[in-house]
Amino acid sequence: MSVIYVALPIALGLSLAAVIAFALSVRSGQFDDLETPQRRMLHDDIPKRK
C-alpha cells in the first residue's frame, strides 16, 4: 500500500502535464475554429502541380 506515496504524486504530475498541454493548445488558438480544420484535412492529399 505504501506505493501510494510514490504513485499519487506521479499521478498528480501527469494530470498537471495534461493541464499544461491543454492550456498551451488553447493559448495557441487550436480551439478557436472547430469546424474548418476537420474538413480541411479531407483535401490535404490532393496532388498539387509542382
Partner: protein, 855 residues
Amino acid sequence: MNAMMPQAKINADSGRASSSRSVCAHCGLDVPAANAKSESDKAFCCAGCELAFQLIHDFGLDAFYDMNQTVGTAVGEVIAAEQFADFDSSEFQAQFATDDAAGSRRIRFGIQGIHCIACVWLIENLPQMQRGVVQARMNWSNSTLDLHWDPSQTKLSEAVALLRRLGYRLSAMRYGERERQNTIETRTQLMRLGIAGAAAGNNMLIALGLYLGWFSGMELGYQSLLRYVSCFLGLVSLLGPGMVFFRSAWQALRMRTPHMDLPIALGLAAGGIGGLVNTIRGEGEIYFDSLGVLVFLLLVGRFIQFRQQLRSADAVDLLYQLTPRKARKIVNGVPIDTHADLLKVGDVVQVLAGELIPADGKILEGQTTIDEAILTGESAPRRHCEGSLVAAGTLNLGSAIVVSVSAVGEESRVGRIARLVAQAAADKPAIVQWANRIGGQFVIAVIILALATIAIWWNTGWLDAVDRAIALLIVACPCALAMATPLALAIGLGRGAQRGILIKSGDVLQRLNQPGTIWLDKTGTVTQGSMRLVNWAGENRWLWRAAAIQDHSSHPIANAMNCNGVNNFLGQRGIENHIVASQVEQTVNGGIRGRIDGRELLIGNRQFALQAAKFDAVFEVAAAAALQAGLTPVFVACEGQVVGVAAVGDPIRPEARTKIAHFKKLGWRVGMLSGDHPVVVARIAEHLGIDPALVKGGMLPEDKVAFLRQQPTDQTQVMVGDGVNDSAALAVASVGVAVHGGSEVSMQAAPVYLNRPGLEPILELLDLSRNTMQTIRLNLTVSMLYNALAVVLAMAGIINPLIAALLMPISSLTVVSSSWLRPSFSSPSGNEQPLDRNENGAMVDEQSAALPRAI
C-alpha cells in the same frame, strides 16, 4: 453540396429535354444559347466563368471540380485588376491592414460565395496562385479569410482581383477590440474548464479511495494523505477557476442585485473553509470532491451560455456589408476609381447603371430609376431626376447619374439605420432570468436555515452544530438550479437550429411564452418577396420573345419575365430558348424595346404601349383583371398591335391565411406594418383576415421603430420582416424574426432567423418556446425538491458524506436528462420541409452562409 445538387439535376434534365441547353463548367448555371459551343465539351455561362475555369486549370487545381460535384460561384463579368487599385491605397490599408512580424502584412476579409469545403481548399491555395501571398487561412464557420502578403512582392489588389475572378466577393473587416476581447474570453473560459475538470476528476478518484476506506477501515496515515491531497486539489479548483463565482457574488452584493451566484458562492465558501478546517483537524467531513465537481459543472453551464451570447454578438459590422466598396469620384471632370470609405461630403461621384449608390447625395446630372427596396421595402423602383435626393446602398437601375455627396458612412441614411439597430439592441432591457431573481431570496432562506440548524444542535456541542450547518450550506448549494435554465435553453436552441429556426439569444424563448402581438411585414413575409409572372394573356410564342428581350434588363419586372421567369411560369413547356434579341434598349418612360428576327417588339406599361399600338378588348379585360388582383399589367406590342398582356406581381403565400388564423387561436393578436401604399396593404390585410385597426401602411423604417416603441412594454411585441428597412424595427421589438431570404442586415438585427420560407416556422418557434419554458419549470421544480430534501436531512443531522455525494449528482442528472428527453416540438418532424444542408448539417443556403454556425 447537396443544396447544389437539385439545381444540377434540373439542369441535367433540361439538357435532355432540349439539346440546345447545357450547363456552365464552372458555376453550373444554364448556358445561354449564344454561348453554347459545339466544338468543345466545356461551355460557360459567361466570360467571367470561362476565365475562372482557365485560371484554375492553369494553376493545376482541377481537383476543385472533382470534389463532391462542386460548382463554383458564378462570376459574371470579366474582372480587371485596376478595379481594386484602391485596396493598395495607404488610407485603406491604414484602416484595415496590420503589419506582421515577418515583414508581411495581414488583413481580414469577409468573403461571399463560399459553398463548401472545396472553395476553402481553392482559396487556401492562393499562395500557389499569386506570388507574394504568404498565407491564406479561411474560417469556414464565420466566412472570414485572413490573408498575409508580402508588400515587396505583390500588391494586395492583385490578390483580391484574383479571388474576384474566381467568383468570390470580398469586403475588408476590421479586426476590432470586440473580436479580440471575445477570443480572449473564450480562451479564458476554456482554460478554466480544463483546470476545473482536471481537479474535479482527480478529486473524485481520491474520494473513491476515501469512501472505500470508510467502509473497510483504512490506516490513518493513508487517510490523512488522501485528505490533504483532496484538500489541495479542492483549493486549486476553488481559488483558480472557482474564483469567478466569488467575484460575481461580490459584485451582486455591491450592486444589490440578486444573482444565482450568491447562494453558490456562499455554499462554496462554507464548504471550502469547513473542509480546510476539518483537514487540518484530522476529523470530520471534507467536501472537496463535491465542491470540485460543483465548480466544473457550473462552469460548463456558464460556457454554454457564453457561446450562445457570442453568436448573437458575432454580427459583422453592419454598415460595411451594405454600402458598396467602390466609388467613381469625378476630379477635374475625369472619373477616378476610389474607395467608398474615402469619400467626403462635397465630392462628386458618377454612378453607372446597375451600380449601387456609394453615399447619400443629390443628383446633379441625369435621370434614372432607382431600386430603393433596401430602404422602403417597396419592390417597384422609383424615378429620380436632377435635384432629387438619393440614398447610399440603393441600386441605380436606369442610366448613369452624377451625384454630389451630402452624407457618407455612418451619417448616411443606411448608416443611421445600422446605428439605430445597434442602439436598439443595446437599449433593450435584459430580462432577469427567474433563477437569478430567486437567488437573493434563496441565500436569505439558506442562511436562516443554517442559523436554525446551529440553534437546534447547540446543546450537543458547538463544533457539531457548526459542522451540521456547513453540511446544510453545501447540500443547499443550488447546482442543479443554476444549470436548469442554461441547459434547457441551449438544447431548445439546438433543436430549433435543426429545423431551420436560428435563435441568437435564449431570452427569446422566455419572451415568446406570453402571447402578445405579432406584427408582420408584407413583402417577403406574407408574400413571396419577389416579382413573379402570375398570368399571361396571349400566345406563348410572344411571351418567349418578350423574355428574350427582358433578359437584357435588370429591372425587377424584367427579372420576373425573363427566360428564367417564363420557364418557371410555363413549367418548361415548349422551351424556346434559342431566340436572340438584338438592339435592345431601355426607353426613358420605363419601357424596353428590341428586335427579334427583324421585327421590333415593345414591352412596357399602358401609356408606352398605347403610344405605338392599339389593342383588342381581350387584352383590355386582362389588364383590368390584373389591376383588380393587385398586379402590374405589362403590355407586349409588335408592329402596332398589342400581342399579349402579362400580369406581374408579388403573390401572397397560399398558406398565409390559415397560419394567421392559427396565431389568433393561440391567443396572439396579428397586425401588419408595411412600407407599401396603405390602400394596397389594407386590401391584403382584409384578404388575410387581419384586424384593420392593427394595419399600418406607408411606414418608413423610422416610423416602424417609433410605432413599436409606443406599444405597451408589458406585452410581447413580435416583429416579423425581411428587408434592411425592417432591421431597426426587428431590433426594437421584444422579439424580432427575420424570415427566409431576408437581407443580411435584418438577419443580424433580429434575434431569430428563419431558414425556411413561409409562416409555418413562426408557429414552430412559438411551440418551441412553450415546450422549452415547460422544461425549465419542470427542471426548477425538481431541483428545488432535491434541495429541500437535502436541507431537511441536513437539519435532522442524518446526512452523511455518502448521501450528500449521491444526492448532488442525482439532482444534476435529473435536470440533464429531463432537458434532453422532453420534446421541444409538439408536432413530429415528419412534416418539415427539407433544409438546404450539406452532409455535415451545416447550412449552405446562400443567405445564411454568412451566419455563424455555432450549433
